[in-house]
């Protein structure tokens, strides 16, 4: 197997006195699709938020493409990463959020174009072409000049995915991207994710409650329970053959609803 693009090494995270993650070890390989499942409050979201540099680990290391994300070397010692260091290392990572977080003061097209132009300093015409292409891909080819407030939740989430894709990330993080949607809009968003998973060679980490969907597209499933990854393997290994009691209870509860 190829070298992992991301490695978590004994990563802990506490919020105040609450220990959310208690020693996460995890490899993410290029193009690998990983689903993270588990009860709410188990720290699933925190795992990917740390990789996106939105939360700083309390201890442990996250290595991205060979570089320590949260620590850097300064005159022979490892110190806390500067903003500049974080920017250099997180450039290949993209994220889609539960609440979309589109920029409400920009059109859909501008939402997709702002970062490639200002962050990557790419040519505006090329970026526009790519943004148009991505928006068409997610089925919003007729909405370029709309503002986010004019869209449905499902449409907003598809824009958010196009916006992340235009940056050409090597790793895409999905943080419960269908949880805030009306049930009838979930399908259209999952369709887009399925399309990305099938046709793009980026690594994907999905934190999700859409169990069947996750198992369908994931190469690897992680079961997170009380801050520890207690099960990992292929979908069939984890779901069908695991004897982990808590996992079975969790799955059972899901299947019932």
């Amino acid at each position: 197997m190829t070298e992992p693009i991301v490695q978590y090494r004994d990563v802990h995270k506490s919020f105040g006195d609450v220990k959310v993650l208690k020693g996460i070890n995890l490899d993410i390989h290029p193009a690998e699709k990983i689903a993270v499942i588990g009860p709410s409050g188990s720290g699933k979201t925190t795992i990917i938020r740390m990789l996106m540099t939105l939360e700083e680990p309390t201890s442990g290391d996250i290595i991205v493409d060979g570089t320590n994300l949260w620590k850097m070397e300064k005159s022979g010692k490892m110190v806390r990463a500067s903003e500049k260091h974080l920017r250099e290392v997180r450039g290949d990572i993209g994220m889609v959020f539960q609440h979309f977080n589109l920029f409400p003061h920009m059109t859909i097209l501008d939402n997709c174009m702002a970062a490639p132009i200002h962050v990557k300093k790419e040519n505006k015409e090329e970026v526009r072409e790519r943004a148009v292409q991505m928006l068409e891909r997610v089925g919003l080819g007729d909405k370029f000049d709309s503002y986010p407030s004019q869209l449905s939740g499902g449409q907003k989430q598809r824009v958010a995915m196009a916006r992340a894709l235009v940056m050409r990330p090597k790793i895409m993080l999905f943080d419960e991207v269908t949880s805030a949607l009306d049930p009838e809009l979930v399908g259209e968003v999952l369709e887009v994710i399925r399309d990305i998973a099938k046709n793009d060679d980026m690594a994907m980490v999905l934190v999700t409650h859409e169990m069947d969907f996750a198992l369908d597209i994931a190469d690897k499933v992680l079961f997170l329970d009380e801050g520890v990854i207690t099960e990992q393997g292929t979908a069939s290994e984890v779901i069908e053959h695991s004897t982990n009691e808590r996992l079975q209870t969790f799955l059972h509860r899901f299947r019932k609803v």
């Binding site: 939105l54 993209g94 994220m95 959020f97 920029f103 003061h105 970062a115 916006r163 992340a164 940056m167």
Partner: protein
């Protein structure tokens, strides 16, 4: 009939103060907005000294009376330090501008802080730098939120300009006072007209504030 004649008498007199009132308003508004953005952003700076220093400015100017500040600039500073702040027009503009700048800086700070956290997170996820996040994402939304409050404070500033009559400037209120002192019986009518005068001047500002409110309702993610 007598009243109408009196009005026709008084109004042109008040008009003579219009220039001073309007120019003081415009100049102090520009200064206040400038101070608001500088101080508002400085209070969010990562540097403790900058933050404390601007905090001091804001609290001093918010916490003391505008009219006393005006007198300080006009009477005390020249005596103590031998500095003349230019004409009394400038003194008025600086006092009003610094005072309202302090209030407005809190509006700037508050608006920036109330842009939803998810906006910053999305900008981080797109690898924007701190400066880019502020310039492209947070600030444009915060400005929309500021508009109504900026309108409110500008209306207050208009009324505040009447204080410059106390340092010998010939604004609308000054001419009202002059007329009253020569014609005491007319005092109620004169001051009524002064009020009407300020109200007419405030009308466009009130309209702009409304406009600002409707703009700020759109295009912002707050919470």
């Amino acid at each position: 009939m007598i009243t109408i004649n009196a009005i026709l008498d008084i109004f042109p007199q008040l008009m003579r103060g219009l220039g001073v009132t309007v120019t003081v308003l415009l100049a102090s508004a520009v200064l206040a907005y400038l101070m608001a953005f500088i101080a508002g952003l400085c209070r969010l700076s990562q540097n403790v000294i900058i933050r404390k220093f601007t905090g001091f400015y804001v609290e001093v100017f918010r916490g003391t009376s505008l009219i006393v500040q005006l007198f300080w600039l006009y009477y005390a500073i020249p005596m103590l330090f031998g500095i003349q702040l230019g004409s009394n027009w400038w003194t008025g503009v600086i006092a009003i501008g610094l005072n309202y700048g302090a209030y407005l800086s809190e509006v700037v700070r508050g608006s920036i802080l109330s842009v939803a956290k998810g906006q910053t997170e999305a900008a981080v996820a797109l690898n924007m730098s701190r400066f880019q996040r502020m310039r492209l994402i947070i600030f444009p939304q915060a400005v929309r939120m500021m508009l109504p409050e900026f309108g409110n404070y500008t209306i207050q500033m208009l009324k505040g300009t009447s204080l410059v009559s106390l340092i010998g400037m010939t604004d609308v209120l000054y001419y009202g006072d002059i007329m009253r002192s020569t014609n005491l019986a007319q005092a109620p009518l004169i001051y009524l007209l002064v009020l009407v005068f300020y109200f007419i001047l405030a009308l466009p500002l009130i309209w702009l504030t409304r406009k600002g409110e409707s703009i700020s309702k759109k295009g912002v993610a707050s919470g």
